[in-house]
Subunit: 328 residues, 2 copies
């Protein structure tokens, strides 16, 4: 029998999860849960019901894994522990600094309910974390680098949109090629924030707005832009729609390290993602870990886990024998 | 107490393991075992004894993990199962086609002895296998590519050295940049053997040897060179020593895949290694998995495992709490 999945929250990420489930024949979407009036939510999969979130608990015996697709700021800190009492859960909680606290809350709830919870699944945290860990364990004498982009930062785009006189905006985080190349050349550079990334902003201003003031407000915004070389392009709403409607992202995790009796040999480990759609890729990682959650629960495991705690083979629909014969 | 390690076989790989142990403060080298007369073997670590292989069993209570550093052709198929009866073992068995058979043999012996055996550890098989597995589970609708090099192929170098009139030789496997770029561009090309790699040979001929005949013999050698575009450079023994004494290697594993309701978005996952020393990097991976072997054995686990069966956190000396707080 296939793995029965519920989706809790239906935005870009929820839709990505729905698409990813369709690519995995061992999984089936049972229901989508939403805080909006269900009749206003149209999903892609035919014949699958949309329910209000309050109905979730009624379906707890029909859902093997509930995938949480809310935001990390206010949704997941509450939702993941609450749902872990009734379901095996997977979320993409990405507030790095609050992961230990979130882990503890989900762990307690999952153990109380006898379920598995996998948190912080995606690419960063997620696949990038995994790669930092593997590379660090292999090359203990070395240095880690993470570059993000080129890609859309939702947080930075929102920060620009909140400025007076701004109608719409999109911000791209761009890694500095020279810094990347220095790392790849094994130079182990010390890089400041400014030396690692630049920020490219595409802004639609309201009619008659003071463009100079907007540009200045962006470039001097603390935390978001002040520490970066920032470029501001004013464009029309039509251009924004035509050229900047995608949600691409990606990045690189590198570790440069030394081996040998006197550190005489240098090695570079590089993991790179180039993603047309940030939410769809994140969703694809989540769905692979939903398979792991279902299997771990079948084995009787309980509690909270992260990508670091889960053996790779749990993610694949192939049997261990098939994996050894074909992939190893 | 630190993890007590034995090294079984002391060639390039054994020496690499010795160097890697020194970089990991939670590990200690107990002894090196050799088939050569022990008095002829000088190791780097002061105060550590070199014993004949026959003495290994006597030290079984003092060694937490025995790392096997023999060859895959004839050594490991015999040694790993034999030693798994007395020790937790890690090897780098790399004959892909015979992995299922080797797994079964090591599994039986390790279970009989109550030990853990981890086989086929290194980078291919090893880290490349892991990355093929993760990427395939995340992007089920996609295509895998593995490129090797630029790096020295020991097998191909040996094949040239066996030709009449050849005194010494070194062969580099080189990925074709155009093929790599087509994959990175998301074109999902179908690539023949010839389109993926070229072979560069540096040959020292015996005095008076027929260079034309040697070049012809190399380029037409079945399996090794006939299916590739091969370049042969004749150089002096001095040039070989000066310019080609290293053992660099590396390569790239890529997966290009589609997501979305109609496969409208393309993603590229790339894992790349650039290694100054193939044996030292392989040794560094092995030593991280030796840590995992010791921990799994402490938990009471038994039997054969591969990199696909082991949760990442087992490789790191850091605690799960520390990993979550710093790496995730």
């Amino acid at each position: 029998m296939s793995i029965q999945i519920g989706i809790y929250g239906y935005g870009n990420l929820g839709r990505g999860v729905e698409c990813a489930i369709r690519q995995n024949p061992d999984m089936e979407l049972v229901a989508v849960f939403t805080r909006r009036p269900p009749e206003t939510v149209t999903i892609l999969t035919e014949g699958v019901p949309v329910y209000p979130v309050e109905k979730a608990a009624e379906l707890k015996d029909r859902i093997d894994v509930m995938i949480l697709c809310g935001g990390s700021a206010t949704d997941l800190p509450v939702q993941t522990p609450a749902l872990a009492r009734d379901f095996n859960v997977v979320d993409s909680f990405d507030t790095h600094a609050r992961i230990p606290e979130h882990f503890a809350n989900v762990d307690e709830a999952a153990r109380a309910g006898g379920h598995v919870g996998i948190i912080s699944v995606g690419w960063d945290p997620g696949m990038f974390s995994l790669n930092r860990m593997y590379a660090g364990a292999i090359l203990p004498e070395g240095k880690d680098y993470t570059f993000w982009g080129k890609g859309v930062s939702q947080g930075h785009s929102d920060a620009i949109r909140r400025l007076p006189g701004v109608k719409n905006a999109k911000q791209y985080t761009v890694p500095v090629e020279a810094a990347l190349n220095a790392v790849r050349a094994g130079e182990c550079p010390e890089l400041s924030t400014r030396e690692k990334h630049t920020r490219d902003c595409y802004v639609v201003a309201e009619e008659g707005a003071d463009l100079v003031a907007i540009e200045e407000a962006i470039k001097t915004m603390p935390n978001y832009f002040a520490d970066y070389d920032t470029t501001v392009h004013f464009i029309s709403e039509e251009e924004l729609k035509r050229d900047h409607s995608g949600i691409p992202h990606g990045g690189v995790v590198l570790r440069s390290g030394k081996t040998g009796w006197n550190g005489e040999n240098t090695h570079l480990i590089e993991y790179k993602l180039a993603l047309d759609s940030n939410p769809e890729f994140t969703a694809s990682v989540i769905v692979a870990y939903a398979r792991a959650a279902a299997r771990l629960a079948c084995e009787g495991q309980v509690g909270c886990k992260t990508v670091l705690d889960i053996a790779p083979a749990y993610l694949s629909p192939k049997s261990p024998e098939e994996l050894r014969a074909t992939l190893l």
